[in-house]
């Protein structure tokens, strides 16, 4: 039922007058308004504070506590009011929701208290208006994080039944889980440090011996350094292989940044092993050793701060890029200017524009090495302009970038969260919408059962079977029903629609006639049945998980109703009661409540019609279906292998 516009339902129903003259079929009977309640004032006593409102205001949202019959539990007979032992302040915003249709979140309220109130009164927080929704979600997230921090201390408990691989992976990711993991963590850290220090010390010139000049330690103690390097690389290799083995998703692990760093750190050593001491490639080999410095990045596994820095640089990349771009522009401009200004002077160091780049950069960053200085007057003028503007160009964007970065960083996080929330919100709203459509389909099914019971059962069964559906909902469903009758098409579930399309697509090949009669029969069927009795049985196809059987056999009577029931619902008991009442062999072999009535051409799938007599609608008028079907088994058993019990009711 559309929430919030219940007051407009009479208008929508009146607007259906436009369908009447064009409809070819009779309209279903409108639901009776048995309880002609006048609109009255209701008193809601919330912990002593009395609120008053119209009954129809509360009826606008029938799926909440105040709008449904659930509030009868809180009715106080003596004082003739509804008493709720809850917070009156929070109740204000809840009651305003009924009045205005918008739910607001009062900022002074505690988030969890407010949540509890919403849950108590049966209102989902997703419908909080846009004005307050962000605030609500922010507070809720903060609260959740606070709770999570408390929980994380318990997180390191060992889960039972973890195999060796999972244990290893957990040990790698959280070093604090076991002593072995901690030892491993420190050992690798130590070796990373050793390796980095080795690389550095390698190049320091050690003391010279008598006959040799200063040489770096690396060349003096080649063997020692080589052993050190080998040891480190072995440790790293073993570590990498172990991580690769333990990773839950090896492909994803291999693509991750850390593993790439690992590989790059140890690869030069192996390449060096493989390559011989060839003169040509030794130059390249030396370059490769540079990559050993990447081992320092392995520390980022050990340092949270490094990881955050890397992430923030990545997220700030566009700002940095812009800074670089504007710098480049300024450099090119000034370099050009300086080049042409200094072109005249002799022995000028500004030999070309690219050569002037160096001067520009050094001047703009206020380094001023002094290896290149302008000599002409014009050059000096432009040089000073360059250094002044350098201060502006460099210094100004940096704080902007810093603040930008901090703002963008937080904003990005919030935007991502909002996007994720939006999807979830829309999904929930979609579910609620489809819920209302499904409610219509479900109520049609209930209505059908109701009618059948009216004819064969007693009042009790009727009450047992139908859940109390509000008058508004029944009127809304009646409206949708009229639309179905007008257009001679029915609302169906998306699944069934897909299946139907599939079937009709398949059907067009064997023979054209079944599909044709398929389309014609609703129109013919629904009007054809009209003359039989005044109570129009809805020819609705409802929510069912099983497909309507394909038309394989010859055409049956066009106006046969096809009742197909699948999963058991709670109606089993009343169904059996119904059967007992009718007494005769017209047992309904339906295990459950899902009914598909379809005016389609029926095959007789013999395996699927275990029920011989079928369901008797009005027993007087409906003859039993053609004989030849196997006798009905007992009610509770599943009969067909397909799990579908099909009961045919002929309407002739």
């Amino acid at each position: 039922m559309a929430t919030g516009v219940a007051a407009w339902l009479p208008f929508a129903r009146a607007a259906a007058i436009g369908w009447m003259p064009v409809a070819n079929c009779p309209m279903p009977i409108a639901p009776r308004d048995n309880s002609k309640r006048q609109d009255e004032l209701i008193i809601l006593n919330v912990s002593g504070r009395r609120f008053q409102t119209w009954r129809t205001t509360l009826d606008r949202y029938p799926d909440t506590l105040l709008g449904s019959s659930e509030k009868d539990f809180f009715y106080n007979e003596e004082t003739k009011e509804y008493f709720f032992d809850r917070d009156p302040d929070a109740f204000r915003s809840i009651l305003n929701f009924y009045r205005t249709g918008k739910l607001h979140y009062p900022r002074h309220e505690c988030i969890s208290a407010y949540d509890e109130e919403l849950t108590f009164f049966g209102i989902i927080p997703e419908i909080i208006g846009d004005c307050c929704y962000e605030e609500y979600k922010d507070r809720k997230r903060e609260n959740l994080e606070r709770l999570q921090d408390d929980q994380e201390e318990n997180k390191d408990m060992k889960m039972p039944n973890m195999n060796f691989r999972e244990t290893m992976w957990r040990a790698f990711e959280n070093p604090h889980t076991s002593t072995m993991a901690l030892v491993f963590y420190y050992v690798t850290g130590f070796f990373i440090a050793i390796s980095v220090i080795t690389n550095v010390v390698e190049t320091v010139p050690c003391g010279s011996t008598a006959n040799q000049k200063d040489m770096p330690c690396g060349e003096r103690y080649t063997v020692a350094f080589f052993c050190m390097d080998t040891a480190c690389v072995m440790i790293f290799t073993v570590e990498y292989l172990m991580r690769l083995f333990a990773a839950p998703s090896r492909y994803r692990f291999m693509r991750s940044v850390m593993s790439i760093i690992d590989v790059v750190a140890i690869l030069p050593y192996y390449i060096g092993l493989v390559m011989t001491n060839n003169e040509d490639v030794s130059g390249a080999f030396v370059t490769l050793r540079v990559f050993r410095v990447f081992r320092i990045f392995k520390f980022s596994r050990h340092s949270q701060g490094l990881r955050i820095l890397g992430y923030t640089l990545k997220s700030c990349a566009s700002e940095l890029g812009f800074l670089l771009f504007s710098l480049t522009m300024a450099i090119i401009i000034f370099a050009t200017v300086m080049f042409y200004a200094e072109k005249g002077s002799s022995s000028s160091k500004f030999t070309s524009i690219p050569a002037s780049f160096w001067y520009t950069i050094v001047t703009m960053t206020t380094l001023g090495y002094g290896d290149m200085v302008p000599k002409t007057i014009a050059g000096k003028i432009f040089g000073s302009i360059c250094s002044l503007s350098g201060v502006l160009v460099i210094a100004l964007p940096v704080p902007v970038i810093v603040s930008n970065f901090s703002r963008i960083y937080h904003q990005n996080q919030r935007a991502d969260k909002r996007r994720a929330q939006k999807k979830a919100r829309l999904a929930r709203i979609r579910i609620a919408k489809s819920g209302s459509a499904n409610a219509f389909l479900q109520s049609k099914h209930n209505g059908l059962l109701n009618e059948l019971l009216e004819l064969t059962g007693t009042e009790e069964d009727e009450h047992k079977l139908t859940k109390s559906i509000s008058l508004l909902e029944s009127q809304h469903h009646h409206l949708l029903h009229c639309l179905e009758k007008t257009t001679a098409h029915e609302f169906v579930d998306e699944q069934i629609f897909e299946q139907n399309c599939l079937e009709t697509a398949l059907q067009t090949f064997p023979s054209g006639s079944p599909s044709m009669s398929d389309h014609d029969s609703p129109v013919g069927g629904c009007c054809g049945r009209r003359g039989k009795k005044n109570n129009p049985l809805p020819n609705a196809s409802l929510l069912t998980a099983h497909p309507i059987p394909t038309h394989q056999g010859p055409l049956q009577e066009l106006s046969a109703i096809h009742i197909q029931s699948s999963d058991p619902l709670s109606h089993t008991a009343s169904r059996s009661n119904l059967n007992l009442k009718t007494g005769d062999s017209s047992k309904i072999n339906c295990k459950g409540g899902r009914i598909t009535t379809a005016i389609i051409s029926l095959p007789t799938p013999p395996a699927l019609t275990p029920d011989g007599d079928g369901l008797h609608g009005p027993p007087q008028r409906r003859p039993p279906p053609p004989p030849g079907n196997p006798p009905p088994p007992s009610i509770q058993t599943t009969t067909s292998s397909a799990g579908i019990n099909i009961v045919k009711v002929s309407a002739l």
Partner: protein
């Protein structure tokens, strides 16, 4: 108003209507938010009771609902469409809502006031069969020239079928509305001149059992 009689608008109302017109046009000085402050008050309860066949209590309930959804006192087409679409979640009801709006908007000023609303409701729900059929004819007759052409009927039919949406059983074919229109003209157009006049319409409807019966469905909507 639908009966063809002249309705005399008292000066206050005319002023109010004019004011609404002014705001409906894109006035350069008027900011977007100011449109909502236009407040239109209906005439008194007693005169409405006289004009319609609703009782005082019924009018009170209707007005409360109306005012709640449209605090400014008038409904414009967008609100109308959005209200109507909430009842038909599966399909697209905007075209039919548009035609309804045209039918409700008897003064043709782009907005439906509470009087228009309640007078039309009174005809549909409490009027005689002839009144109801007249109202339906007025709805179909899009250009209000006294006869329904095939194009008009096709538009109406398409809008009705649009409300069903995509997921229907049997699958909605594109020719279904057209067939329905042909069916309608076959039934209604007595002299086969391609249009349906009010007399043909009334005559055919009064002879049709189904239609007569379904007209009585509206007897106890409120």
């Amino acid at each position: 108003v639908n009966n063809g009689g002249e309705k005399c608008i008292d000066p206050l109302q005319r002023a109010a209507i004019l004011q609404i017109d002014l705001h409906n046009q894109s006035h350069p000085e008027v900011e977007d938010g100011e449109l909502a402050t236009v407040c239109y008050r209906p005439e008194g309860l007693d005169s409405l009771v006289q004009k319609t066949s609703f009782s005082k209590k019924e009018l009170q309930v209707l007005y409360r609902g109306f005012k709640n959804e449209c605090p400014s006192g008038i409904v414009n087409e967008e609100t109308f469409k959005s209200i109507y679409s909430q009842f038909f979640p599966q399909g697209d009801s905007s075209m039919y809502a548009h035609f309804l709006f045209e039918a409700f908007d008897t003064h043709n000023n782009g907005s439906v006031s509470f009087e228009d609303f309640v007078i039309s409701l009174s005809i549909i729900l409490r009027g005689s069969i002839t009144d109801k059929l007249n109202w339906a004819f007025n709805l179909y007759d899009l250009n209000k020239d006294g006869c329904i052409t095939r194009e008009e009927m096709t538009d109406i039919m398409n809008s009705i079928y649009d409300m069903m949406g995509k997921y229907t059983y049997p699958c909605m074919r594109d020719s279904a509305p057209k067939e329905h229109v042909d069916n309608f003209f076959q039934k209604m157009d007595r002299n086969n001149d391609g249009v349906v006049t009010i007399d043909e319409f009334l005559e055919t409807c009064q002879k049709d059992e189904n239609i007569m019966q379904s007209m009585h469905m509206f007897d106890n909507v409120i």
